[in-house]
């Protein structure tokens, strides 16, 4: 039974559903914790480049749609018994880490949308921010590999296949 259900799984779609939800969760943490609760990030700090304004709008819209799309993709996979949980979790870490790293490098440093925090030496904050992103990303990569091995192992070793 477990084998049959695993063969119906859609690992790739599960991973992408996870990536979208991971991006959305990290974006929500960024918005809720760093913008609203801690008020470390600023809505606008006066040093944003024009291109930064454009990219902020596009990224923001992308986050909103990623959130809805990700949840509906996972919902759809579950409904059809096609969810590979291992891949979805792996995707979640990849999405969260990837988003955090993009935010830390491109948004904060290159486009200068806003900084992690103001009126403090910024370097330790930047290092902590991007290190956290790398950790999430590495966990995601490890989980993807493991999920792939589990999936291939069980489907590949099927005697009847």
């Amino acid at each position: 039974m477990a084998l049959i259900s695993r063969m119906r799984q859609n690992p790739n779609r599960s991973k992408w559903g996870g990536i979208l939800v991971g991006i959305a969760i990290m974006a929500a943490v960024d918005e809720i914790v760093f913008h609203q609760l801690l008020a470390w990030h600023h809505f606008y700090d006066g040093s944003t480049l024009a291109i930064g304004l454009l990219s902020d709008g596009l990224l923001h819209a992308g986050e909103l749609i990623a959130m809805v799309a990700g949840f509906f993709i996972l919902l759809d996979l579950r409904k059809h018994g096609a969810m590979s949980k291992a891949h979805a979790w792996a995707g979640g870490f990849l999405g969260a880490g990837g988003f955090q790293l993009f935010d830390g490098i491109v948004n904060h440093k290159i486009l200068r949308l806003h900084q992690v925090r103001y009126d403090v030496p910024i370097l330790p904050y930047d290092i902590a921010w991007n290190l956290m992103a790398l950790i999430l990303l590495v966990v995601g990569i490890v989980l993807v590999r493991r999920a792939g091995r589990i999936h291939e192992g069980s489907v590949g070793s099927s005697p009847s296949a």
């Binding site: 596009l58 819209a61 749609i65 809805v68 799309a69 759809d76």
Partner: protein, 269 residues
């Protein structure tokens, strides 16, 4: 203050005291929406036809939001307080249309009118001009493009001094908002509507354009109006940014739930 004598709210209130036609007529007109809808519902009932309770709830929520936006607590304050203006704008242009369109009023109307009228309407719907206007890209330009024009040109200031222009702006945003929701995720019949991917891209572009405009208003202290306090104007821009987020997420949910239900049906759940 001399320059503001012509301003709708200050002038109107000074001359006619408590009762003002411009305070009563817009919400009264908006109240016709639920009356018409409930009439249609009554016709369905007498014929023992089924109609979704969800649809009814959506439409009633949408019309309530519209009426609320046009009543004095918001409509009156909108002349002095940019946050009230922005709340009104969000309600008329984004949240009310979501409810109104998801209530499938055209479907209800077509079911309630004689067959001949319905046929003529269907023919009208297939006209090239309707096809062009109902395309998501056209709806996007009318909707978000209209906002750019309103806030980045002198139109906003002009609309604060001219009652007809002011109401025209309201009607435009209500209509454009409904057009946009319908083009993206409306349950009412839409001949030759483009596929999921196109609609998703248009929604994405619309959400981005809305967020960018919200930040531009914040940065440049717009809309610029003598009675508006600069700090409140920045708060209004933030309200536009985050209020728009909520409306766009709801619209995305409406769009994806169409996709989800279709997949459940085609795969047998």
């Amino acid at each position: 203050m001399n320059g503001l004598i012509g301003c709708l709210e200050c002038g109107g209130a000074a001359t006619t005291g408590g009762f003002n036609a411009h305070k009563i007529i817009p919400p009264a007109l908006a109240a016709l929406f639920p009356v018409a809808y409930l009439t249609g519902l009554l016709i369905q009932r007498t014929r023992h036809d089924k109609w979704s309770g969800w649809r009814t709830a959506f439409f009633l929520i949408g019309s309530s939001l519209l009426i609320w936006a046009l009543l004095p607590p918001i409509a009156g304050a909108a002349y002095k307080d940019p946050e009230a203006h922005m709340l009104q704008h969000l309600l008329i242009g984004m949240f009310a249309p979501l409810g109104l369109v998801l209530g499938a009023p055209v479907t209800l109307a077509l079911r309630s009118v004689p067959v001949g009228v319905g046929r003529r309407f269907s023919r009208l719907m297939r006209a090239p001009v309707v096809h062009t206007l109902s395309h998501p890209v056209a709806a996007l330009i009318l909707n978000v493009g209209g906002m750019y024009v309103l806030y980045l040109t002198p139109l906003f200031a002009l609309s604060m001094y001219s009652a007809p222009l002011h109401y025209l702006v309201h009607v435009h945003f209500l209509a454009a908002g409904c057009l946009f929701v319908w083009a993206i995720a409306g349950p009412d019949p839409a001949p030759r509507r483009p596929g999921m991917r196109t609609r998703l891209i248009v929604l994405f572009v619309g959400a981005a354009a809305h967020a960018i405009l919200g930040k531009m208003l914040y940065i440049h202290g717009l809309p610029d109006f003598p009675l508006y306090d600069p700090a409140a104007t920045r708060a209004a821009a933030k309200l536009m940014y985050y209020g728009g987020d909520l409306a766009e997420v709801l619209l995305a949910i409406a769009l994806f739930s169409i996709w989800f239900r279709r997949r459940v049906r085609s795969h047998g759940g």
